[in-house]
Symmetry: C2
């Protein structure tokens, strides 16, 4: 699938929140997870900017731990604000995607 970047704007951050919410994890692994999900072109730089933003906005708790196979990892967990943001994201997604699907089906 060719360039998805514009369509991912506003949703990729939510996807990262969801991934963190389901399991404490770190940037490099999140990138691989997104690639496996089908977002093959999402690269590390993009994910790290999102993670820094989440941290700056106080949605995550960060813990640095040694890795054993490379440099230390920064593990991310959602805090209460992060869980609220995630819930808001899915509400928005539900709202938007249902309306776009309706338009697509010609029932708009």
């Amino acid at each position: 699938m060719d360039d998805l970047t514009e369509m991912l704007k506003g949703t990729l951050e939510g996807c990262v929140l969801e991934i963190i919410g389901s399991e404490e994890t770190y940037g490099y692994a999140i990138t691989r997870r997104l690639n496996d999900l089908g977002f093959a072109d999402v690269i590390e730089g993009t994910v790290y900017t999102i993670l820094l933003r989440l941290e700056r906005n106080g949605l995550v708790q960060v813990t640095k731990r040694p890795s054993g196979v490379g440099p230390p990892r920064k593990f991310y967990e959602l805090n209460e604000a992060g869980r609220e943001e995630l819930a808001k994201f899915w509400a928005k997604w539900q709202y938007v995607s249902s309306r776009i699907d309706r338009l697509k089906e010609g029932r708009g």
Copy 2:
């Protein structure tokens, strides 16, 4: 529903293409249509920038006609390139939305 602007990036243009594709229409009416669809905060300026972009990218054919209730209207129709772009948009949408839904359901 609060601010949807980021989530609409990359999809709003596709929605406008779909609306034009289903019926020859003009900017002001497209805006009202989007508002009725549930995208209440989309304003005229936004739609007009999209329409100018579509025109610049050669995806539409434009016809100016007098209105009777105001200034003349610029009616938009999809040309062949526009129909191809619309098909590509829906393919992308299908691809992205199905994967995000899968992530949401925990089947990612």
